[in-house]
């Protein structure tokens, strides 16, 4: 982890339907720096604006006030430069494309040659441990496998930043834990910065270097919790340090609820 900032969010407000009857203040006065190579989770009750914050970083939404910088440039420029890959809750693969062609989609849009694309998609399939599934169609794969393809697609053009919006939310518990280990391995192998939206306390505790707890209506940063579990394995889940981190996050979330 370097000391350079990957993301700098300064004084950001986000208001939907401004000056209308159904105006919603989604985020208010958000300040947050995320370092290069860091794994940061955004957690909070529903309606706290965690997905909105992720979309502001990805320039899929624009802030009403304040600024979002990604790798020292505006979020908009970072999107144009393809500095990040995105993973959604539902894998969002294109049914009509084979798995390999799905992974190659961003490369195709960036004008890569066919042979380069094929080489890279195979590398990515190896990375997410689905080496023999390139020729399958998404619907032939399980939910967990689809989500791994989705991660491979997001990483195919080697972005320095990975934005993940509850990527494991639709998976069963066992698959989910397995995917978390896989994600940590990929994070370590690629050195990518990860911003990870979740509403699972154990997931945030297990994966993150830092957990940002948001409070709802309007969304604000309630607290930022540092977590250091070192090298994580399946046995980490039974380690007191893991429970300690989870407890700390849980207490912060309770405090958020009591505020309301």
């Amino acid at each position: 982890m370097s000391e350079k900032n990957a993301i700098r969010i300064s004084d950001v407000d986000k208001v939907f339907n401004e000056e209308r009857d159904d105006e919603v203040i989604a985020l208010s006065n958000i300040n947050l720096d995320i370092k290069e190579g860091e794994f940061v989770s955004l957690i909070g009750p529903s309606g706290c604006g965690k997905s909105t914050l992720l979309r502001l970083i990805g320039d899929l939404l624009e802030p009403t006030q304040g600024s979002v910088e990604v790798f020292g440039k505006s979020a908009h420029q970072a999107r144009i430069d393809q500095d990040y890959g995105m993973v959604f809750q539902h894998a969002g693969l294109f049914d009509w494309r084979r798995v390999a062609a799905n992974i190659e989609l961003p490369l195709e849009l960036h004008g890569w040659s066919k042979s380069d694309r094929a080489t890279r998609s195979q590398e990515m399939l190896d990375l997410v441990k689905l080496p023999d599934f390139g020729g399958y169609y998404p619907r032939q794969l399980s939910g967990g496998m689809q989500q791994r393809v989705s991660i491979a697609r997001a990483l195919s053009f080697k972005p320095k930043l990975l934005l993940m919006d509850e990527p494991f939310g639709a998976l069963d518990e066992m698959t989910r834990e397995h995917m978390q280990i896989e994600l940590l391995r990929i994070w370590e192998e690629t050195g990518t910065t990860v911003v990870f939206v979740t509403h699972s306390i154990p997931e945030a505790a297990f994966l993150s270097n830092r957990v940002v707890v948001l409070s709802p209506r309007p969304g604000r940063v309630h607290s930022v919790i540092d977590v250091d579990l070192g090298q994580r394995t399946e046995s980490t889940r039974e380690d007191p340090s893991f429970f300690g981190a989870a407890t700390e996050i849980r207490e912060a979330l309770r405090a958020v609820e009591e505020q309301e």
Binding site: R55, G58, L60, R79, I80, Q82, Y84, G85, M86, F88, Q89, H90, G92, F94, D95, W96, R97, R98, L105, P106, E108, L109, Y137, R139, Q140
Partner: protein
């Protein structure tokens, strides 16, 4: 398609035809026994069963092979109908292609600008409430004024019917991708055009092909109605009109020409099915 599937389709179709013929002849036989009354009652049958109203199936089929005069030459009925159907098919095909182009153009335009959807869609719906019979002479007169061949005017009438299902279902299909898919393309900084070709058009296919099948049948209907109202001597519509006028003398001929029209409609339907198989071959593999 596997050969076993071909045989299965062949037997299914044969069976259905056999069943319908049996129903036709059985009803006719029953009516002949009871003087067109329901057996054991005094209630009349809905359709009279004499040879003018319901000719025997074999007579209709026989009529298809009978020699008839076409101008100075003479040829079997089926060849005559095929010749007529070929003209109608050309008109319908031009109408279909124009309708597809205009319909998809409108769908793309409306999906691009929400305002245009609100402005155009009501008019597209209204367009279909105008009876074709009223519209056809207008199109023909206008076409002749512009010096367009009648074939093209008939195609335009056919276009008028075909563009509608394409525009409406096309729009539905182009709007069908999830928000997440659209966001994904946005995150790749993909242009509107790229999103159209890589996401929206492929996603629209399952919506589009049922509409195309409907449009295909409508294109034939439009061409036949166009021929009838224009008085063009060449097509199937003209043949149907002539045989309808001489129904009392040659009822079998009208039935034969209707079979010809049905055959043309089915052929168009089959062609669109083949196109669907080709364009959706990838998704098909998974399902079947």
């Amino acid at each position: 398609m596997k050969s076993s599937k071909v045989t299965r389709v062949f037997f299914t179709v044969s069976f259905v035809i056999f069943f319908l013929v049996l129903l036709w002849e059985g009803y006719k036989w029953m009516g002949q026994q009871t003087d067109d009354l329901w057996p054991g009652t005094n209630f009349g049958l809905p359709i009279a069963t004499n040879d003018t109203i319901m000719p025997h199936f074999v007579d209709v089929v026989g009529e298809l092979t009978a020699e008839i005069r076409d101008g100075r030459s003479s040829m079997p009925m089926y060849a005559f109908l095929l010749k007529k159907a070929w003209f109608t098919f050309q008109e319908a095909a031009i109408g279909f292609i124009l309708g597809l182009t205009i319909g998809m153009g409108l769908a793309v335009f409306m999906s691009r600008w929400k305002v245009s959807e609100r402005g155009l869609l009501p008019w597209i719906n209204v367009s279909q409430t105008i009876p074709l019979i009223a519209l056809a002479p207008v199109v023909v007169t206008w076409g002749r004024n512009q010096g367009l061949p009648d074939l093209f005017s008939i195609s335009l009438i056919s276009t008028y019917l075909t563009f509608f299902p394409v525009a409406v279902s096309g729009l539905r299909g182009l709007q069908s991708p999830d928000a997440a898919h659209v966001e994904l393309m946005h995150s790749y900084a993909a242009s509107w055009r790229t999103t159209l070709f890589k996401l929206r058009l492929p996603a629209a296919r399952p919506y589009l092909f049922p509409a195309l099948k409907l449009a295909g049948s409508l294109s034939v209907v439009g061409a036949i109605v166009g021929e009838i109202s224009i008085g063009r001597k060449t097509g199937l519509g003209r043949a149907i009109l002539e045989y309808a006028l001489r129904y009392a003398i040659f009822p079998e001929r009208l039935y034969a020409s209707v079979i010809g029209a049905a055959f043309l409609g089915l052929s168009v339907f089959g062609m669109i099915n083949l196109a669907e198989r080709f364009f959706m071959r990838r998704t098909r593999e998974v399902v079947s």
